[in-house]
Every structure is written in structure tokens, then in C-alpha cells.
Symmetry: C3
Subunit: 343 residues, 3 copies
């Protein structure tokens, strides 16, 4: 019998099942520095202890997406090893900042299964939580993937499709305890634009671009202990290309969006996201943002913006879908998320 992990197939999932994922991880200043070397990340709250303390936090937390990637990476061996496609995200919430020394682990509950009409694959919905060493939930999100069946003759389970929020309400967002932007230093943060300066419908071309290297996306993906072989083994795909982890594009785009959204400090929620086309080494990633909504929050000086962040590999900014309603071939990512920004 093989001792290696063959991954789960569609039949192995049942609604209500809880999966505790391996391997817990303690994060340190090392992960933080690597994140800043891999992405042009510059949000001041995640760069400076002094800035974070002036904003009411004990010190500078890990970038929110470090928490996301770490939690996500652990789910791969159990959720997406045999996945044909990553179909979507919903109800992502950042519940507690993660700091140096925290140990993160992941737990998923299967909340939906639905066999496809071809009988060869099915869709699995999981709600994943990231927990710290005190069993506090630091973030959570729902993800659904298309998974192969082991045995195409196996009977289809009763279809359960969870009722997911298309968009989180601002009341659903959790604002870190103590967060206070009333004494926010816009000069140190890098831009003057505050919550009041953004209008619904406004679009921002973030201008900067980064050409992707194999070594960099592999360093990043391994750092989150995501070991899906398609990202690392150039002999795995017939075309000899290594597919870049979608999260690498998310982090690259979020970091590039600093130029125009330097004050969009914290990611509070992820409403949805699509990896529209694959990204490969040699692609030059750029991005643009559309402001989808604005809301006030109960925290002092803190407003919320709902943003669409679109990453591309070529083409002009602000193009998203073709006449057929499908994503244009140059679109890599379409992410719908909430940020916290000084009013």
C-alpha cells in the first residue's frame, strides 16, 4: 500500500464532516520579511510597529494575506489535491490580527456537495477557519472546488448547496479591538486620500507592474506549505509550465494597489473572487481597482470600502469581460473585498 497522500475524491466528502488539517505553523519576523521581499507590500500598519501602535494595536501585525495563505495552504492536501478547478470564495472574514509568535492551524467543515451532471466530478463547499494557539478563530472563508470522483459509478449524494452571502454587509465585518484612525499620519502612510475621497464607481489604474519569476512564486507557495505539485514540477503538465498559485497573484495585486490605495490598510472581508485565467512565469502582472461600495464603521476614524481588484497580464486597464460575458484572456483575478481606511 502506498504511504503517500492520494488526496480525497468527491465521494470522500459529506456535509457536516469536519477536517482538521495538518501542519500547524508558528509565524515569525521571517515570514513577515519574506512577504515584503516577495511582494511590493508597503501598507504602513504592517510595516511599522510604531505606526501600528499609533493606530491602537499592540504592534504591527502580519499582513492579512499571510494569515490567509497560511490557513489556505494547510487545506490543500485535504481539499484540492484532486481538484479540477477552484470555483469560488465567499464570506471571507478577518477576525483577529495575527502577530509574530502565533501558531496557526486550519479546520474545515464540509457545508455542501453536488455531483455534476457528467457523473465524473462534483462540487464540494467547505468553510475553513484558521485558529491560533489559543483556539481563537483568526479568519474564515468559504471555498468551493470541483473534485474528481474516484469511481464514476458511485451514486450521487443528495445535493446540498449552501446559501452564501453574495456580499458581506459592513456589519458582518470584525474590526480589530482598539483600532483607531483618528490620529492617522497620512504622510507616513504615503498618500493623502482618505475614505471621503473615494467615490462609488471610481476606477483606479495602479500603474505599476511586476514580471513574475519561477523562483519567486515557488518560494511564496512553499512558505505557506502549499505543496500542490502543479506549482513546482515542470514535468507535471504537458506544456512544461508551472502553474502559479492563485494566491500569489492575489498578494501581488493587493501590494501593487498600494499606489492609489495606500491607506486601505486592513483587509476586513472577502466577498468573492475568481482566478479568471492562469498565470505563468514571464507574465507581467498589473492591476486596477473599482470602488464598489462605501460604509461607515463603529470604530473611531475608520471607514470601509468595498473594492473590486482586478489583476491582468497585459491589455488596457478597466477591461474585464468580453461581449460573451466571459473574462478577457488577460484577466488573472477578479477579487471583491472590504478594506478599512481612515475617514
Amino acid at each position: 500500500m502506498s504511504k503517500t497522500n492520494a488526496g480525497r475524491f468527491f465521494e470522500d466528502y459529506a456535509v457536516g464532516q469536519v477536517i482538521d488539517h495538518a501542519v500547524p505553523r508558528t509565524v515569525s519576523g521571517g515570514e513577515r520579511a519574506l512577504y515584503h521581499a516577495l511582494y511590493p507590500a508597503r501598507h504602513a500598519l504592517y510595516s511599522s510597529d510604531a505606526f501600528a501602535q499609533a493606530s491602537g494595536l499592540p504592534k504591527s501585525p502580519m499582513d492579512d494575506l499571510i494569515a490567509f495563505h497560511t490557513v489556505f495552504g494547510k487545506t490543500v492536501p485535504d481539499v484540492s489535491l484532486n481538484a479540477v478547478a477552484n470555483l469560488g470564495y465567499a464570506e471571507g472574514r478577518f477576525l483577529k490580527p495575527v502577530y509574530e509568535g502565533d501558531t496557526l492551524r486550519s479546520r474545515s467543515e464540509v457545508i455542501g456537495v453536488k455531483e455534476n451532471s457528467n457523473g465524473k466530478t462534483g462540487v464540494v463547499y467547505v468553510r475553513t477557519q484558521g485558529l491560533n494557539q489559543n483556539d481563537e478563530v483568526v479568519m474564515e472563508y468559504v471555498r468551493w472546488v470541483m473534485v474528481r470522483k474516484r469511481d464514476v459509478t458511485a451514486p450521487a449524494p443528495d445535493a446540498v448547496v449552501p446559501d452564501l452571502k453574495k456580499v458581506l454587509a459592513v456589519e458582518d465585518l470584525v474590526i480589530p479591538e482598539g483600532l483607531d484612525f483618528t490620529n492617522y499620519d497620512f504622510t507616513l502612510a504615503g498618500e493623502e486620500h482618505r475614505w471621503a475621497d473615494y467615490e462609488v464607481g471610481e476606477k483606479i489604474d495602479h500603474v505599476d507592474g511586476v514580471t513574475i519569476e519561477e523562483a519567486e512564486h515557488m518560494l511564496a507557495t512553499r512558505l505557506w506549505q502549499n505543496t500542490a505539485k502543479v506549482h513546482f514540477d515542470a514535468t507535471f503538465r504537458e506544456d512544461g509550465k508551472r502553474l502559479i498559485y492563485g494566491g500569489h497573484v492575489i498578494s501581488m495585486a493587493r501590494a501593487l494597489s498600494f499606489n492609489g490605495l495606500a491607506n486601505a490598510q486592513m483587509i476586513a472581508g472577502i466577498n468573492g473572487g475568481a482566478h479568471a485565467n492562469p498565470c505563468f512565469a514571464g507574465d507581467t502582472v498589473k492591476c486596477w481597482t473599482e470602488v464598489l461600495d462605501k460604509a461607515e464603521t463603529s470604530a473611531p476614524g475608520v471607514g470601509a470600502l468595498r473594492l473590486r481588484l482586478v489583476a491582468t497580464k497585459g491589455g488596457e486597464p478597466f477591461n474585464l469581460k468580453g461581449e460573451n460575458g466571459k473574462y478577457l484572456s488577460e484577466v488573472l483575478l477578479d477579487l471583491d473585498y472590504w478594506v478599512l481606511i481612515p475617514c
Copy 2:
């Protein structure tokens, strides 16, 4: 007079000589995070403080091979700058876990010299110890290399060939103080296979592969302050290739072997090892393991496995040598080592 290090030649070594190597190094969470970015390392004991504490250690130690590479790297300017070949390892033992904040240095004793019959080179045997800031030996190993003579007319020294153990006995292994696997969490560790599940003679194909990049092996090799120019300077070899540090392949293979040996947490001993063929950027490294021996230990819940770890760059798993008794051209590494694993 040149001020740069010309390295030692065969005549410069004498049995009994002790060499204190430069440069001491304090390791931190940065080295740890880089190790996890460079290799798909996931052994839970080296990933999570909480997991390590549940196993009786004060916190998560540095991966054992961080200690090995750091200690090894320091010896390069004194031992292998003029080496023609790295011939072998023996009697490698990990004596004390290394933690963040420890400062490591290396010391070698020459334990053998033997001129080759061609009169141009000789073999030098050194026993190297890694010491921490409290002068405790954290690891040791014997290594022998073929070194050029400065002057081919120099007389041959009396040949001394040390009597080295082909294989360490389980009693030779040092188990970290306090290590206790009786409450081991197999779910968090990632696999269910325990000591009892492995049989002598069993072979495991670890399945996963990583295609090697120039940037990654150079980052790794520099991190250990191993500055042998053959790894960095593409103009040094006639073929324009940079030879990859053999230790990069060791770490890559060890990390890839997680898939099937997730519970083989600690490396306790290295019986021997051969870098069978050179590795270059673009090679895709895979590996397989053969279980060579099993033994009980005195520590609660802790068993030992003696494993052969073979790294390849192509070909089918489980092939090692040809009919002529020589390593096949696709074999990169043949490592014989002891691990500690829950019973």
C-alpha cells in the same frame, strides 16, 4: 602578497590538526522561514511551537539540516576550497536541537590523510563539530574529500585512514532531552503511519517533484555562508553551469519525503551519503526511500528507522545502480540516515 584565501592544499593537513572555522552565526526566525520557503519542509515538530511543546521540547527547533548546513558551510574555506571531490560522510550525529538565538560555529579535527597513487592529490578526513554559544556540541560528522597538492613533488605523508562505522548503532544516537511522542497528534502531523507501520525492505515513492531554479539554490547556499565559487559564478566552469551545492539536494529530498514519511520527525544520525551525480538548474528533483532497519529507543513513544533516501533527476523510482555497480546517471543523492518517529 594576495590577501585572499587560496585555500589549503593536501600538504597543509596533518593528522591531529584542529581547525577553528570562521564565521560564527546567530540563527533566528529568519533562517527558519527561509528554509521553509526554499524547501517544502512540513515536519510538524519544526513548524509549530505548540506541536514541539506537546512533544516535550521547549519550542520548535530549527530543522536539523539548518544546523548541518550552517556547520558545514563554515568548513568550506578551510576544507574544500581546493577539493576535487566530496567523497563521503560518516558518523553524523545530531546531539542537541538548535533554537532561535543560538550562535553556531564549527571546528574540525584532521583524522586521516592518504596521498593518492597519482601523486597529484590526496584524501583528507575531518571530523567536524558544530558548537553553540555555550560550547555545547550540537552536531558532528566525518567527511572526506579529495584535495589537490600544491606541489606534486612534496613527499607523501604517512597514510592514516580512520576506522569509521559503516552504520551508527541505535545506541549511538542521541535523543533530545525530554522528547516524548506518547501524546503525538497524527492528524496535525499529517499522516497516520507510525513506526510499527514501516517494514524493513519497504520502498516508498515520494511522488512529488521540484524543478530547481538558479536563484533558489544560490539563496540557500549563501544562507549557510558557503561561498564556493562553483555554485555562484557562471563563468567559472567551462560549460557555463553553476554546480548546485549537494546540501541543497539533501534538503530538497528530505522535505519531499514528507509525503509518506510525515512522522519521521527528527534526523538523529547520518550513516553515509554520496552525491552520485551533479545537479543543475532545470533538473526536476524527486525522491524515494527504502527502509533499511528499525530499532526501539529508550525515549517514551519514540522509535527509530534507518532509511535510504535517494534523490533523482528523472527515470523511474527505485532504480539506483547499473549492472556495472555504478550509480545511474539520474541518481543525485544516496543518503543513509536515522530518524526518530512515533511508535
Copy 3:
């Protein structure tokens, strides 16, 4: 109106102006480990807490150039986004070692402006200071750049050209409090050559070379939050090449100069520097040093050397300029700096 940073043009600078640069940064063991992975840095004082403590410092500081790059990177969006050329450095001084946990920010004062006779560009001189969380100046330097005018019809300002020291006197250098090399361990440091062994006029070929990779220079440049797009976006220049941040070459050359200058522990001053030719991935960087001056200092056991460090991408060592007085095409860097070294 675009929300992205368009950068400053020549008309936007006026003598006396003070610019507080974004984004403050807390440095940790992560930056330190990355620096040692990116460059073959081995100076013992920056590698070992124990060695630093034996030299009178509380622990091992960050490599001096980590401070320089961090401070420099912050100035890019305000000083050099629209720069046509980086013209020079002067009066660089390292005033206080930087340690893990320190938070650095940058402030520049405009000390000179001079429009060029073509009316399209002008030269801007800034004195930049790096400050820590206690508002102490940790380093400072003067830099001058050629910047485009926004409007070529704008009137020229009164020309102000600061009077800068061609070379810092040894009395201008600031020696870290407590530094004492009287018990210096030359064995652990890696070489025997002390201050007395270097002669004015002596030249050292540092022998070693490193072939540059795209992934590595981008990791480095991002780590310092220098996001000038010319370093990252392969579609930005017409030739499809990414220009390597000049500081990457400085750090590579300084680290390579260990071989022959292992005891030149601390950089105390930068008298001047020229990025003679651009560096691109694939270039193999080597370097040589000329001893320009020697001086005693007031600190116990501590001498000072003034060095010229020249980085090249090919050619023979010790060649610098052609008959026309211009840098040879293989010269990348010509740096004039002061180091502290045991007597």
C-alpha cells in the same frame, strides 16, 4: 484625478524644503537572514551575537547596508521617480548601529537645485537622514539626481549648489559607542590581515564572482520597499530588460570583498559613489579594492581604512577608466568609503 503617485518634477523642489518619506519599517531577524541569503555577507560582527558582544556591542547589528537600503528605498517615490539619472553620493555617515526591532523612517532636506542648460531637466541635491523609533539619526547621506521638468517653460530657480566634502575626514566618522577591537578574534573573523597590514595604494582582487538572477535582485529591492518600476516590470523599458537597483550591486560587491577584507567590519562613511554602467540579470559581478587612505581612531583597537571598491561585469581587475577618462564599459560601481578594522 488619478490617485496614484506621479512623482515630483524639478519645479516641485525648493531649497530648504523638508520631505518626510513614507513608509516606516520595523526590521527583524527576517531582514537579516534575507540579506545573508541574497549576498555572500560574512563579516563576523553582523553574523554572530557572541562576536559582536566581544567587540563591545550589545548584540549583532543589522549589516550597515540594510540601514542604507531601507533609508534609501523610502526616498524613491519622492526623490527619484522621475529621475533621469542618479548622479552622485557624498557625506554618507553611519551614526548608530541598527538592531532587530528598530523602526526606521527617512527624511530629506533639499539642499540644492540647478536647472540644466537644456531647460528640460535639473539637478536636485538632498540630504537624507534615517531615523529610528527614538528619533535618533542612524545614518545620513547626500545624493543628487537629475530630474525632468514638468513644464519646460517654467522659469529656472536660482541655482544653489551645496559645498560638499569630497572626502570625509576620519574625525567626521562616528564610531559606535563601546566598540572595542582589543580582544578581536581573527580566527573566527576569517582572516589575519589587520589595519597595519594594509598599505595605501595596495590593490586587492577579491576573486569571487556571482552571476545575477532576476528573482534575487527583485527580492532585494522589494525588501527595501524600493518600488521603482524599472526594476520590476520587463515591459517598461524598450529593450525588455529590468534595470538592477544600484544598491544591489553595492551590497554584492561589499559582500564579495570579504575575501581579502574580512576584518573591514563596519562601514563608517561613504565619500562618494558612481553607478558607472547598468547591471542586468546574467551579468557576473566581481570586484576589486584599492586602499586610498589609512587613519587611526580614538576607539580601542580600531583603525580606519578609506577604500575604493570597484564592481565589474567582466574584464581584468584593476581597470577603471579608459584613455578618454570615462569608466570602462565593464565597470558597474566605483565606491569610495571608510571602514573600521582592528589595528
